[in-house]
């Protein structure tokens, strides 16, 4: 079909018409044979303007459209809709920005006009090389895989499961519940930890839309958003269970820093030095006692164990240390408790009240540094530097260490399995610290709870629910996914298999076809940045709507 380009220049009131000699522009760009019509119009984005364009396209039988007006950030979509309504592919159009980047920044009318001519000519040149691009629709699997049966995994599973969305919950230990099951109470409301968990476990087990695998791990996870292939293996068995899902939620929790790495605290060498989790378990059993069975009289709680080594504040330790003081006071009313801390980290509207209420008789707070726990007779001694730097010491029967929260020992394997990255501390890396804290750079894989970073239970529940929000709105049963249109493409014939493109892609979009020995772009998850195109030495990679030829045409006018 013969190409017929229609060029329409918007006056934008006086904004363009007073700063640019539009008639000169019309004269300058009318020459080429394929430019069927060049007209000016008062305000193209108005209702009348859009109708005018639609009528023009149909009347003139235009195949391509060039609009010279404001920034594409303002009205690119507006005129794409006009094209669609008029029956031409919305990508066979180019918008030249002669307002924000020409009329509004160029005082001299002559210069502005010359620049506008360049910009419109560039758009005309470019649009000749545009291809019609079609919106794609991909059928998706609405089911979800949740890895980790702790409070986050349980919450996400319950929120997501329904009659047309199955949830597969895979837990590596023999029971659901995770870390929280060990806590007699949780801060700040001091409600039983089991309250949070018991009912959720019951509900999950009752729910016929949730399939639970305990003593199991995910062996393999292939595919992409909307279409993941999962292989699960139970510990005692050889066979896999295979199924497909559309999204994955990683809720694999966290671990604790091992205080054996910091021998100054005496952990593992001195009696009655316990870690937080050991103390939680002891407390939950009902009796807090020393190794010799006696009741402690003076208990030291040491905050920030491993903080320097790990390089971050674990957010919840000051709070759970205060909780420990309460546990102690509840079970041993006349015990003396000493908190050794550097900074009291209690952010949030409820936390300070909890601290204020915890302070009181026989609960002491000692701001300190350089802590060393040594043996003193049958007991221990906390040696420390006080606020002024002076050396001091305090005898104690029992020491509780509050260690940093760390990633689990299998987080690297999990990250590799899911094809996501880890941050510098080993936690799963979110896509964007502020705006996408639970998404990852692999679309369809979400990270929630302390697997993403240290946090308390309310924040963990929020993240699990947030993942639910993301999944329920993007993976709708019966509805298709519409991926980005302006994506990369690699020509099989020109690809030399160097994999340069793969090494620069932040999203794992490109895979290597072992048979054909070429790289292939997954157009469903490509974000369209074009990095691979610039990295390709053979010119096999192109970016739709930003091809070399198209940009070259713009360069020709720019110079």
């Amino acid at each position: 079909m013969e190409r017929k380009i229609g060029v329409y220049i918007c006056e934008c009131g006086p904004n363009i018409s007073e700063k640019i000699d539009i008639d000169k522009v019309i004269d300058a760009v009318s020459l080429p044979e394929d430019v069927a019509v060049v007209k000016r119009y008062k305000l193209l984005c108005s209702v009348d303007g859009k109708k005018f364009l639609e009528d023009e396209i149909k009347k003139q039988g235009l195949t391509h459209l060039v609009i010279a007006a404001c920034s594409p950030k303002q009205h690119e979509k507006t005129f794409m809709e006009v094209c669609e309504n008029a029956g031409i592919n919305p990508y066979l159009y180019q918008l030249a920005n002669i307002r924000e980047q020409c009329a509004w920044v160029t005082d001299d009318k002559d210069e502005a006009t010359k620049k506008a001519i360049r910009l419109v000519k560039a758009a005309i040149r470019r649009v000749r090389y545009h291809f019609p691009l079609e919106k794609k629709e991909i059928a998706c699997n609405p089911d979800v895989l949740v890895i980790g049966g702790g409070v986050a995994g349980l919450e996400a599973s319950l929120q997501l499961a329904s009659s047309d969305r199955r949830v597969y919950l895979v837990e590596k230990t023999s029971s659901l519940g995770g870390m929280v099951d060990n806590f007699e109470k949780t801060f700040p409301n001091m409600q039983p930890g089991s309250n949070l968990i018991k009912q959720k476990i019951l509900d999950v087990n009752k729910n016929e839309n949730i399939k639970v695998f305990t003593d199991s791990i995910v062996e393999e996870l292939l595919g992409f958003f909307g279409s993941f292939e999962v292989k699960v293996k139970a510990k005692e068995q050889d066979a896999f269970v295979e199924f497909d899902v559309g999204a994955v939620v990683l809720a694999t929790g966290s671990s604790f820093f091992d205080p054996k790495q910091t021998p100054q605290y005496g952990y593992g060498t001195l009696d009655n030095v316990f870690t937080a989790i050991e103390f939680e378990k002891m407390n939950k059993s009902g009796k807090i006692s020393l190794k010799n069975g006696k009741t402690p009289k003076n208990v030291a709680i040491v905050h920030c164990v491993g903080r320097n080594e790990k390089g971050y504040c674990s957010q919840i330790c000051c709070m759970y240390s205060l909780k420990f003081a309460r546990y102690l006071k509840e079970k041993i009313p006349d015990v003396n408790v000493f908190h050794f801390y550097s900074d009291m980290c209690i952010p949030g509207k409820s936390q300070q009240k909890f601290y204020d209420q915890t302070k009181g008789k026989h609960i002491n707070f000692i701001r300190s540094s350089n802590i060393e726990v040594t043996k003193k007779g049958d007991n221990v001694q906390i040696n420390y530097s006080d606020e002024d730097g002076k050396a001091n010491n305090l005898p104690a029967n029992m020491v509780i260490l509050s260690p940093a929260i760390t990633p689990t020992s299998d987080s690297s394997q999990l990250a590799e399995l899911a094809g996501i990255s880890q941050d510098d501390s080993g936690f799963f890396a979110e896509e964007h610290e502020k705006l996408n804290p639970i998404s990852t750079s692999t679309e369809g894989i979400y990270i929630v709870g302390s697997a993403q970073g240290p946090k308390d239970i309310p924040d963990t529940l929020i993240q699990a629910e947030a993942a639910t929000g993301k999944i329920l709105s993007s993976l709708v049963p019966g509805r298709k996914i519409e991926p980005e249109v302006k994506v990369a493409h690699i020509s099989e014939s020109f690809c030399i298999g160097c994999k340069n493109c793969m090494s620069v892609c932040s999203y794992g979009t490109i895979t290597f076809d072992e048979e054909k020995k070429v790289c292939v772009v997954n157009e469903v998850i490509c974000r369209g940045c074009g990095n691979c195109v610039a990295a390709c030495p053979s010119g096999a990679a192109t970016l739709k709507h930003f091809t070399f030829k198209q940009l070259y045409q713009e360069i020709l006018e720019a110079v």
Partner: protein, 144 residues
């Protein structure tokens, strides 16, 4: 060394990334800041799209200067694209020297969406610099 000529009107090609620098250029427009018309913008989605061949092509066709503008390091909409742009830029500087051009004719600037004034300043200063350097010695005239 070339001298500044009265009738030398530089032709500068600007590759601006859609998310940050193009928005910053628009903001300069919204704020009605004067920007030298010697720059013609070519929009790309990410500064990492700027293929070295595109830059070389621009110079070979007579561009007096090429500006690549992207998001500040750490702010790239596509995570790390601008870091790759930075790497390609350092190699490109050597390449265009090999073509017989001063490496200063190529500039890489980080301009955020809120930096309208900065965009104007960067372009105007670049224009001044190019004027001092004179026309691209490889300049050929091309017609439509």
């Amino acid at each position: 060394m070339t001298e500044e000529t009265e009738d030398f009107e530089p032709r500068i090609v600007g590759f601006l990334c859609n998310w940050c620098s193009y928005a910053g250029a628009d903001l300069a427009g919204n704020s009605k800041l004067p920007v030298s018309p010697s720059l013609t913008t070519i929009r790309v989605m990410c500064s990492s799209r700027v293929d070295p061949v595109l830059v070389e092509t621009a110079f070979l066709h007579g561009a007096d200067g090429v500006l690549i503008a992207g998001c500040h390091p750490g702010d790239c909409h596509y995570d790390e694209g601008n870091y790759y742009a930075r790497r390609r830029f350092t190699v490109l500087e050597k390449v265009i020297e090999g073509l017989g051009l001063e490496s200063d004719r190529l500039q890489l600037s980080w301009i955020s969406a809120s930096e309208g004034q900065r965009f104007a300043d960067v372009v105007n200063e670049f224009d001044k610099k190019i004027r001092k350097m004179g026309p691209n010695p490889l300049r050929e005239k091309k017609s439509l």
